[in-house]
Amino acid sequence: MLRYVLRRIAASALLLFLVLTGVFLLLRLAPGDPMALLETPRIPAEAREELRRSWGLDQPLATQYVRWLGGTLAGDWGTSFSHHRPATDVVRSALPATLWLGGAALLLQLLLGLPLGTLAARRAGSLGDHGLRVLSLSLYATPTFWLGIVALLCFTYRWPIFPPSHLQSVFLAPGAIPLWSDRLHHLALPVLVLGISGVGGWIRYTRASVLEVLSQDHLVALRARGIPERRVLWIHALRSALPSLLQVLGFTLPLLLSGALILEVLFSWPGLGQVTYGALLSRDYPLILA
């Protein structure tokens, strides 16, 4: 067992190393560099070279890689070229907003996806099941950015129900309650978009998992003992399906983060997505890699 765990850890470390190395190299192979966006062409070549030196970009790529890898292992991700702060600080300050958005969206996905998927499994083959399959497939296939644009146009401009951007309003009545109700109001639309765009997957996975366990012997035995169907379905069947749904959670999280990246730009949400977008545009290598 110990050997298995160690082997898995070593494999994970190797995979992480390969991914980090690949990202580092791909970034450097892409055309352009951070100097190109200095706003005035009057800045002489010597000054540009000096800045390049201060950022360590004058070193051979291998040296830069070793330095970066050493720093990363020591927990130092370098200094952001565009924010002029340690990349760790930039990530740390942006992470809560993304967690807030992603966490709330995941909660919404679970609150909608688990019951709807379970219902679909219970009534497999019915008209409702077919309807949910069409709905879940449509939502699954809908790009998050498109849904975000449509939601913005409809619910912030056509019918201004939700605020169009940011964490909170500029104009606020004093007090903690208005502050937090305003924040929740701002959170609602991006969460709805991110949540709904992912709920289709949850419906599909939950339906498949519950359907699989519904025919298992122990559930048949429960029914034979006279346990009500509702209890069999919502307690025992759903519980039996949970391990496979937990695996789904594993690959939902990256999807949530990538969806949040685009939405954060659309909604000017100050999280990691917006930071990454800015870092990519300015070739802020330390921040992109962080």
């Binding site: 892409a30 055309p31 352009g32 560099d33 190109a36 966006l37 200095l38 706003e39 005035t40 062409p41 009057r42 800045i43 002489p44 070549a45 010597e46 000054a47 540009r48 000096e50 800045l51 201060s54 200094t79 952001s80 565009s82 924010h83 002029h84 702060r85 340690p86 600080d89 930039v90 300050s93 942006a94 809560p96 907003a97 967690l99 807030w100 913005l152 912030t156 401009y157 169009p164 951007s165 940011h166 964490l167 909170q168 500029v170 104009f171 606020l172 009545a173 004093p174 937090w180 924040r183 929740l184 730009v265 659309l266 909604f267 000017s268 100050p270 999280g271 917006q274 930071v275 800015g278």
Partner: protein, 541 residues
């Protein structure tokens, strides 16, 4: 009941605990009056200009710190004048190698510390320190020393006499030595937050809060030397990276001020009675740079013919609804150095065809495109992605050139890739834009010394033009350089290293509740301390 209470406590704790870190003023109630809201594409990068520079940063910092003197936007008919700011006056030595500023004695930093000559000298030391590595330190190259004569008198010593001495001495805000000298220069880079945490200002505003990626809030500096200013209680600069989001929020009234309005959507702004469009000078021009290092564009006659084959008035009319000007030189028509006698090359496709024929080009294989010695007149015309106006321009130019038998193939590159290909001269022709500043230095684009490592993308090389640019950099009074500027423009007009396309206006969108605003080409937020807002109800109406 207990469970419910616990749930709300936990939910509230979650929201408070996981909520993004916000401003210094978190927890305090924002003022009830709606402030001036400005949209920004990118985040403010901190108060210290020696660490970073962007137009937005400069706009904000211009309201936090003062210069020795303030450049005025009166550059149309003569070199600009300067109004007193920290310095009440300045004077020259007879040999013009010494420039002495007398500082006002009543000025203090926002923490009450007097602003003195010591701050001026220390600012110069920081600006020129290799440890700080300010990218604009080159403007201080001709300043040998900054001498403190007394607490309120400071003298700049120059190594040579030239026209931009005052401009260069004045470049950069005067920074607070007593507050910022605590951090060694070697530690400045990567410490933008430290300067915000230790911020003291001399200008009308201070930074009330800076929430990264979200907004920067400016509040009045209570120790500003004009007690009745600023008139605004708060100014909020909100980060809105998405261009269409910026525009929509301007239309809906959430944003009061928006720069660079999209020209194809001006009608929506003009139809809104709460909004107005202000057209201000931009001191910019768009161009096509021909790569004269490639044989196809090596001949000036070819480049002139290409210019004559492009209908620039049609571009201006279509892309800007006639609000732009056809360009004829790198000095826009609203700048005093512009040669008014210069007539833009006319759109004359017939003349272009004749010129190409004289150069040996003909359509020998009847495919609709010119060729010479078996080589077709075909090239790539590049610009950056993400700019619809440039994309439209490129397609129009492609069609216009096709009419005279030239195959221009549009090529759209991500901005970084475009800059790299331009810098390395790996292009045929490229569409871009430059803005000029008060120094009127255009050598980066046209001087032969800038072919390697500079922005002379097309490899333009004309010894007389080089000589003129050198002479301009050495005259003692800028106004004396007018004949040199004129001759340089005549040469560029004949050589056409660029086809000068158009001079765009800067279309600024303002909510009508803004009063007394005088944005100009130097600063959108010029004299922000004088701006005011019409009172309104809580909903912003």
């Amino acid at each position: 009941m207990r469970k419910v209470s616990l749930f709300w406590v936990l939910l509230f704790s979650l929201l408070v605990g996981c909520g993004p870190r916000t401003s210094d003023s978190e927890g305090t109630a924002p003022p009830s009056e709606r402030p001036l809201v400005i949209a920004a594409a990118a985040d403010f990068s901190g108060p210290n200009e020696l660490l970073s520079s962007s137009q937005l940063d400069h706009e904000i910092r211009s309201n936090l710190f003062l210069h020795l003197v303030q450049e005025q936007p009166d550059y149309q008919d003569s070199p600009p004048t300067f109004a007193p700011q920290l310095a009440r006056n300045h004077s020259w030595s007879e040999d013009r190698l010494q420039l002495t500023f007398e500082l006002r004695e009543d000025l203090v930093w926002s923490d009450g510390t007097p602003i003195t000559a010591d701050d001026v000298r220390w600012t110069w030391e920081a600006q020129t320190s290799p440890e700080v590595g300010w990218v604009y330190s080159f403007v201080k190259d001709s300043i040998r020393d900054v001498e403190i004569l007394d607490p309120h008198t400071v003298r700049f010593h120059f190594t040579r006499v030239y026209a931009n001495q005052l401009l260069d001495a004045n470049e950069g805000f005067i920074l607070p030595k007593h507050a910022w000298s605590e951090l060694p220069w070697a530690e400045w880079r990567g410490n933008a937050q430290w300067f915000q945490d230790h911020l003291v200002v001399s200008g009308p505003f201070t930074v009330d809060s800076w929430t990264p990626q979200q907004e920067t809030v400016l509040a009045p500096n209570p120790r500003y030397h004009r007690p009745e200013r600023p008139r605004l209680d708060r100014v909020v600069v909100r980060v809105l990276p998405d261009e269409s989001a910026r525009f929509r929020q301007f239309l809906s009234g959430d944003v009061d001020l928006l720069r660079s309005l999209p020209t194809d959507r001006l009608a929506e702004v003009e139809a809104n009675p709460e909004l107005t469009v202000r057209e201000i000078d931009s001191r910019q021009y768009n161009f096509i740079a021909w790569n004269s290092l490639r044989p196809l564009f090596a001949d000036a006659a070819t480049r002139r013919a290409l210019t004559q084959a492009i209908d620039r008035q049609a571009l201006v009319d279509t892309l800007y609804g006639g609000r732009a000007r056809v360009a004829s030189s790198p000095f826009p028509a609203n700048v005093w150095a512009h040669d008014a006698s210069l007539e833009p090359w006319p759109y004359d496709p017939e003349a272009a065809r004749r010129a190409f024929a004289d150069l040996g080009w003909s359509d020998s294989d009847a495919d609709g495109f010119l060729d010479r010695d078996g080589v077709a007149f075909s090239f790539e015309l590049s610009t950056n992605t993400g700019n619809q106006l440039r994309r439209d321009a490129l397609l129009m130019i492609q069609e216009q050139l096709a009419r005279v038998g030239i195959d221009a193939r549009p090529k759209f590159l991500e901005i970084q890739a475009l800059i790299e290909s331009n810098n390395s001269h790996e292009f045929d022709a490229t569409l871009g834009a430059w803005g000029i500043d008060t120094s009127l230095d255009v050598s980066y684009a046209f001087h032969s010394s800038e072919i390697d490592g500079g922005a002379n993308y097309g490899g333009y090389d004309n010894p007389r033009a080089d000589e003129l640019m050198n002479q301009i950099s050495e005259v003692s009074e800028m106004a004396e350089a007018k004949p040199l500027f004129d001759e340089l423009q005549q040469i560029l007009h004949q050589d056409q290293p660029y086809t000068f396309l158009w001079e765009p206006p800067n279309l600024l969108g303002l909510n009508r509740r803004i009063r007394d605003a005088h944005p100009n080409a130097l600063l959108m937020l010029f004299d922000l301390e004088d701006w005011s807002l019409v009172p309104h109800d809580r909903n912003g109406h």
